[in-house]
């Protein structure tokens, strides 16, 4: 069993993408640079023509004309002028410029935006009127080239532009983009917008962006605004500042330490969550065993296959209801319980009943059943793994903050596990069946003398344990693929959880499963997934030697 391979924590993913993006940007910059130098002869000639046009500010043609220059510095100034102008089309111009789709007619003075530059013939529109202008090619349209520095500058301009327009969500994302992008060019603009901003969330982001800029200018007071900020960009910006030797550096270091310790806490919370979610799977798989093994004393080696049957039921129901994974899952919960429970009742009636009081023989017979069930599924369905799609509300992650995000399907399984546990506990505690089960467990002869039909209780108890295994299968189908060997991997772990927790004790199973899950997760970063598992296994083996009755010893003389 490997709970670990399924982990795709969001943090590592982000760490991966940032360097990748940087590489991509650099590659683009290099490519553009070389193209620019190749065409430099031509553009220098044009540069002299472009100068006088730049003076006529405010007029669209003049604004775009100012971009027609070889100097990237002048281009940047022209872009700035566009951003500050009142032209309606300025956002689109800047976006097109950023995408490398804004250009000028080579033999004429019209400006075009290329709408699709994938082929040789580009569909183009007029940049000022946005009217269809037929097609253009590399020969007819001279695309304005930009370099990396200019790109950053245009991105900043665009961000501050979208800050002043649009709804709150787009303003917020613009403000988030601005973190680390505030430069001398747009600092004052951003400051002005921050004062005009209505939304607290956007203002908060702008404060962070400005504080980071101020700090880079040597303003120590700006540090206070950054204290405890979890944004990676803030941390990256602070690191070089803290590396210095000044008082500011020491201050920055203390802020950085604060951020690091806060991140460490959230990391721990994340590990705890992963551990609890892995533990909840263990608990779900083991809790059915806790009933059949703990309460009835029956070793059911086919328990894993009952889990598998629950998972296959989910898959079948989903096949019957294409396009409605939510409904299918809702139906699979009672469905999985009933189907697996039905199998359980049949197994109890046909095999286990005859092996009463011979636990080792029961172990062997149920192991045989597990082989038969596996092969049955292989023959009926196919040995291939099946994929169960999760409903939308179980996909994705709940991003609490920059450092902590909870995967929704794992969260769902955790809550489901707790719900199943609560239901089972209530059943054992408050219902007539629970009372009868406890009575038969404690003193079979006496319970029968009081009129409890012990054989019926046996059947129902086993069916209940099997049904809970089916529920575990439903939950597992949301996390992994469904295959004939699904259950096999859980059998060793489930037994260990039950024995570790104390046989016949539901609470013990819960505590044992959760703690094994968390211990496994905590060990993993140090020693790796496999070794962590081995350590947990050996640890439990040693624990059982020391305390054979488990964490919670059964009270009274039942053991």
């Amino acid at each position: 069993m490997s709970f670990t391979t399924g982990w795709k924590g969001p943090a590592p993913r982000r760490r991966l993408t940032i360097p990748m993006l940087l590489c991509l940007l650099m590659a683009c910059g290099l490519g553009i640079g070389s193209e620019a130098s190749a065409a430099s002869g031509e553009s220098q000639v044009q540069a002299s023509k472009g100068e006088p046009q730049a003076q006529a500010k405010g007029e669209p043609r003049a604004l775009l004309g100012a971009l027609d220059t070889g100097s990237f510095q002048a281009k940047g100034d022209a872009a700035q002028a566009i951003a500050e102008s009142g032209a309606e089309q300025k956002t689109r111009w800047l976006q097109a410029l950023l995408d490398g789709r804004l250009g000028k007619e080579r033999r004429g003075d019209r400006f075009y935006i290329v709408t699709d530059d994938s082929g040789r013939e580009w569909p183009i529109i007029d940049a000022i009127t946005f009217e269809d202008a037929g097609t253009g090619t590399r020969r007819t349209v001279d695309i304005f080239k930009i370099n990396n520095e200019l790109r950053t500058r245009i991105e900043g301009l665009l961000a501050s532009l979208s800050l002043s327009a649009g709804n709150e969500a787009s303003r917020l994302s613009a403000a988030q983009r601005l973190v680390g992008e505030v430069t001398a060019d747009n600092a004052d603009r951003v400051r002005g917008m921050r004062d005009d901003e209505e939304s607290d969330a956007v203002r908060g982001q702008l404060d962070v962006a400005l504080a980071l800029y101020d700090l880079q200018q040597g303003d120590a007071e700006a540090l206070d605004a950054l204290r405890g900020n979890l944004d990676t960009r803030v941390r990256n910006a602070l690191t070089p500042i803290a590396a210095g030797d000044s008082a500011l550096a020491a201050e920055a270091q203390s802020v950085l330490d604060g951020i690091e310790s806060k991140r460490a806490w959230y990391d721990r919370a994340q590990t705890l969550f992963f551990g609890l979610s892995a533990g909840s799977i263990l608990v779900l798989a083991a809790i059915g065993l806790a009933i059949t093994f703990g309460v009835m004393g029956v070793i059911n080696m086919a328990h894993g296959e009952l889990i598998m049957i629950g998972a296959y039921t989910t898959w079948l129901i989903q096949q019957a209801l294409p396009g409605q994974p939510g409904l299918a899952l809702a139906l699979a919960i009672p469905g999985g319980f009933l189907v697996a429970g039905g199998f359980g009742v049949v197994i109890e009636r046909t095999v286990i009943r005859f092996l009463k009081g011979r636990p080792l023989e029961t172990l062997l017979a149920t192991f045989g059943l597990s082989l038969v069930l596996q092969q049955l599924v292989r023959t009926v369905f196919s040995p291939l793994n099946r994929r169960v799609t999760s409903p939308e509300w179980l996909q994705g992650a709940w991003q609490i903050n920059e450092a902590l995000s909870l995967t929704l399907n794992r969260l769902g399984v955790l809550l489901f596990c707790l719900a199943v546990f609560a239901a089972l506990w209530a059943l054992m505690r408050y219902t007539r069946l629970g009372l009868e089960v406890r009575a038969v467990t404690q003193n079979r002869a006496m319970a029968r003398a009081m009129g409890v039909r012990a054989t019926r209780v046996d059947m129902l108890t086993f069916g209940l344990g099997a049904g809970v295994a089916g529920l575990a299968g439903v939950a597992l189908s949301q996390l992994t693929n469904v295959g004939p060997n699904l259950g096999q991997g859980y059998i060793v772990d489930s037994f260990l959880v039950v024995v570790f927790g104390g046989v016949g004790n539901l609470w013990g199973t819960l505590v044992a499963g959760m703690s094994l899950g968390v211990i496994n997760q905590v060990l993993q970063p140090w020693v790796g997934a496999v070794l962590a598992k081995i350590i947990v296994l050996v640890g439990v083996i040693l624990f059982i030697q020391k305390r054979p009755q488990g964490i919670f010893a059964p009270k009274g003389r039942t053991s």
Binding site: I299, V351, F354, L355, G357, R358, P359, L360, E361, T362, L363, L364, A365, F367, G368, L369, S370, L371, V372, L373, Q374, Q375, L376, R378, T379, V492, F495, L496, V499, V530, L531, K533, I534, L537, V538, V540, I541, L542, I544, Q545, K546, P548
Partner: protein, 363 residues
């Protein structure tokens, strides 16, 4: 094997050792081996010729029989069901595998001592033996019994499987150890080597059978049977039950280790799947099918199930797991004493006498 408070212990032991089942089994083993050797020596054109491949297959069965014997010694006579005996088998196999690998290329680090056969032979006995000693000492001292013991042995072999799957172990990772060419200076590919390994395996089965029989008829064996049937009472009388269990468990693990060591050169590979809990449980089924607490039943069960496996996995691969699973269920429900039970019941009716109705083995 029945427990009687008879003072002349030595005489009784000798009688029990030379019981009918010991003699018949010894005879059957020797005759079987000789028959295979003679048929193998026939010219290849003869209809009765037994090919080298078949001899190798029978040699493999012998190692399985040896493993079944080891399981029967502790399950049948001590009542402890180990679901992790495959681990001892695999450890012996890995020790042999390291030695075989060392014949072609020098091994790194500590493994280089495995180049020498005496060291390797020692390791084949000591690796499983020490593991069983440590594990058994912990388990029996804290009176982990019955199902709990079965579960933790299963966890043990599972943990070992995970460990041997890691490349850092230096045991070939998930591929395991393979590419064996030479044993004691002789090529493994030659037919003579196949026959030699077959004979060695057969002799090992015979010796292990005698050893187990000697143990079970001895005082130690009778205390162990008493432990199986009423552990608390034996402890109360004053026997150190944990010592008895530990002794038998270690001997059993060593036999399993030897079985593994003989298995590896005949099969040509040892990998972590041998540690898989499924294999260990399969071994238990061989013993259950053959009949527990008879020793010869274990040999018979291993032979029958593995022969069936060879035939059926070839003829109808899909059905094999149905049949194996069905065997588990049917044998435990209908033949609680296995084939050996059927034989003794048949003998009982045929000769019109009761063959010492043994107490139903319950564990």
């Amino acid at each position: 094997m029945t427990i009687q408070a008879v003072p002349q212990e030595r005489d009784r032991s000798r009688q029990a050792f030379l019981s009918r089942s010991t003699l018949v089994t010894t005879f059957a083993l020797i005759v079987g081996m000789l028959a295979v050797l003679i048929l193998n020596a026939l010219p290849a054109s003869s209809a009765l010729h037994v090919s080298g491949a078949t001899v190798a297959l029978l040699g493999k069965y012998f190692t399985y029989m040896l493993l079944a014997l080891a399981v029967d010694l502790i399950w049948g006579y001590l009542g402890i069901l180990s679901l992790g005996h495959g681990a001892f088998f695999a450890l012996g196999g890995y020790a042999m595998g390291l030695y075989l690998n060392a014949q072609t290329s020098p091994l790194p680090g500590w493994q280089s001592i495995m180049t020498y056969f005496p060291v390797a032979a020692l390791a084949i006995l000591l690796a499983p033996g020490l593991l069983a000693l440590a594990f058994g000492w912990l388990a029996f001292r804290s009176r982990v019994t019955g199902v709990y013991f079965s579960i933790i042995t299963q966890a043990l072999t599972f943990a070992l499987m995970l460990a041997f799957n890691r490349n850092e172990m230096g045991m070939g990772g998930s591929t395991g150890l393979t590419r064996f060419y030479e044993l004691l200076g002789f090529s493994l590919a030659s037919e003579n080597m196949t026959v030699a390994l077959f004979v060695a395996s057969g002799m090992a089965v015979l010796l292990a059978f005698w050893l187990c029989r000697a143990i079970t008829v001895s005082r130690l064996g009778r205390v162990s049977v008493a432990t199986r049937d009423a552990e608390a009472r034996v402890r109360f009388i004053g026997y150190r039950v944990d010592h008895v269990k530990l002794a038998l468990f270690v001997v059993s693990a060593m036999i399993a280790g030897v079985a593994g060591a003989l298995y590896v050169p005949q099969v040509g590979i040892i990998n972590p799947s041998t540690f898989a809990p499924l294999f260990s449980i399969e071994v238990v089924v061989w013993v259950a099918l053959g009949g527990r607490a008879t020793l010869y039943g274990a040999l018979l069960g291993a032979l029958v199930v593995n022969y069936l496996k060879t035939v059926l996995t070839g003829a109808m691969p899909d059905a094999w797991l149905f049949i194996l699973g069905g065997l588990f269920v049917l044998v435990t429900m209908l033949l609680p004493r296995g084939i050996a039970g059927v034989i003794s019941a048949w003998r009982g009716t045929r000769f019109g006498r009761r063959t010492g109705e043994r107490k139903e083995v319950s564990a």
